[in-house]
């Protein structure tokens, strides 16, 4: 363990902890844009600069390892003025369209601009503009809103192991793009969307479907493969408009293309809405009462005529434990046969 002092408080943190992590452990807030706790430090946004006694210039707390006896100051008029300058510079190369931005209310840059009260910007000048839109079907890449924090690049490389995007060019012309600036063609896991601190990366599916107001979040478990990722369904009215995942879960907030983008089936117009009974070879709508009476009656007929073992139930790996339990209880206890199975084998 290492003992250090941050803003006058003495703290103990494990070896290898960065100054930023040390501060966060003790709820001392240092602003950042490029840092993400699950990715390697970058040190590009310069917002997390802190003063350390004995070091002549401010250093980025996200890259500096805590050391024994270190005395750190996270806020001072000088630091706050530097941070303000950095934010003004970023905003001088950023569209001022929070009004219509998908991420308004959920944007780190907007939040910081708010806290630093940046209404008038001392800096103005050329802004990056890109006429070409990325034509991939999943991820809206509005690169004019990109602040080049590099989180998406790192998550794609370090977490997903795909490296579909990287920094290209340099200096003011720097941009993050797929090779040869073509349309994104990747696994579309959307991890980049999850870590983007601004409105640069969003899901095409949730464009103009609702931001913060009237949106409920419901935590649940994914209905696709066996990984069992935690999902947060964003619901407006009776519609799931977006899926995210929290970082403090088993899947660490990471999802795959199906989990993140494959939710349209829930509100699909093709959903079955009424019971159907086959009449003269055709399936026709019926009331629940009629349908269930019919099923129960026919099952009883079969059981009476051929015995319970002439009936079988096939259950589903996509239903809940409770439903599966009840299903086999019904087949075993009510019908009276052990002819019950599910699709485990495929």
């Amino acid at each position: 363990m290492i003992k250090l002092m941050i803003d006058g408080k003495t703290l103990s943190v494990p070896d290898g902890t960065t100054v930023l992590d040390a501060a966060r452990r003790f709820h001392i807030n240092i602003p950042t844009l490029c840092h993400h706790p699950k990715l390697t430090p970058f040190g590009g946004c310069r917002l997390c600069l802190v003063e350390i006694k004995g070091i002549p210039r401010p250093v980025t707390s996200c890259t500096t390892p805590a050391a024994e006896g270190m005395e750190v100051t996270t806020t001072s008029p000088n630091l706050e003025s530097l941070r303000k300058t950095v934010l003004e510079l970023i905003l001088s190369d950023h569209p001022n369209d929070c009004m219509i931005c998908e991420r308004a209310g959920d944007c780190t840059l907007q939040e910081l601009a708010y806290f630093y009260g940046i209404r008038k910007n001392r800096f103005s000048g050329e802004r990056r503009t890109y006429s070409k839109r990325d034509g991939n079907p999943f991820i809206e890449r509005d690169m004019e809103k990109c602040i080049l924090c590099g989180r998406c690049v790192k998550v794609c490389d370090e977490v997903e192991g795909v490296a579909a995007i990287d920094f290209a060019y340099r200096g003011f012309k720097s941009k993050i793009c797929p090779p040869y600036e073509k349309d994104l063609n990747c696994e579309f896991c959307g991890q980049c969307v999850a870590v983007c601190p601004t409105g640069a990366l969003t899901g095409k599916a949730w464009k103009q479907r609702g931001r913060q107001k009237d949106v409920r979040e419901v935590d649940t478990t994914c209905a696709y493969c066996g990984c069992g990722c935690s999902l947060t369904l964003h619901v407006q009215g009776n519609e799931v408009i977006r899926v995210t995942s929290r970082e403090d879960t088993l899947n660490e907030g990471w999802l795959c293309v199906k989990g993140r983008f494959g939710y349209n089936f829930i509100n699909s117009p093709e959903r079955l809405k009424k019971p159907l009974i086959r009449k003269d070879g055709k399936l026709e709508e019926a009331s629940w009462e009629t349908a269930l009476d019919y099923v129960a009656g026919r099952l009883k007929d079969v059981r009476d005529k051929y015995g319970p073992n002439a009936i079988a139930g096939l259950s589903s790996a996509r239903c809940t434990n409770e439903e599966n339990y009840l299903f086999q209880k019904f087949i075993r206890g009510v019908i009276g046969t052990n002819n019950v199975d599910h699709c485990a084998r495929y």
């Binding site: 490296a163 990287d166 290209a168 060019y169 340099r170 797929p178 090779p179």
Partner: protein
């Protein structure tokens, strides 16, 4: 342009040379450019597939370093140095003149006939003989806009066999 197979042979040789090298991306690209004069997109795709290095990394490196060219370049490369010493001695004027003489809109462009590429470079370390113009890497010392213009005329003559206007 090389046929695909010929190009792949060149690339295979380069791969064989650097396959085991850690951090070989820049080497691969430098050798490719030496061999082909520029870096075709197909070469990057080929390296990426053969070496399991994402294309995005190649593209990032390619666009970071000014040495690399994504398109074929002219037969003659005219580089005007605009380092400090050349700048204070009029390098910019020379650059403007050459650009005008070649009828090119901006730095790094190649004439339509593929004979000339014009570029501005930042200091070739020949400051004591500034301003300097490099023609195919040979330095011409203490140039002026006029002498540079003459140089272009001579080169054009050599290329086309007639005096260019």
């Amino acid at each position: 342009m090389l046929e695909e197979k010929d190009m792949n042979d060149v690339l295979d040789r380069i791969i064989a040379k650097y396959r085991e090298d850690e951090g070989n991306v820049i080497f691969l690209l430098q050798e490719t450019q030496d061999a082909l004069g520029y870096i075709p997109e197909e070469a990057v795709a080929y390296f990426s597939k053969k070496l399991d290095i994402p294309s995005s990394r190649f593209y990032g490196v390619l666009t970071f370093y000014s040495q690399f060219h994504l398109k074929p370049r002219g037969k003659n490369i005219l580089s005007v140095c605009c380092g400090t010493a050349c700048h204070v001695k009029g390098g910019t004027k020379i650059a403007e003149r050459i650009q005008r003489d070649l009828g090119l809109a901006s730095d790094g462009e190649t004439t339509e006939d593929g004979k000339f590429t014009f570029e501005i470079v930042r200091c070739v370390g020949a400051c004591s003989i500034a301003p300097v113009v490099l023609v195919n890497n040979k330095a011409h010392a203490e140039m002026s806009a006029d002498s540079a213009s003459k140089l272009v005329t001579e080169l054009k003559k050599k290329e086309t066999g007639v005096g260019a206007k």
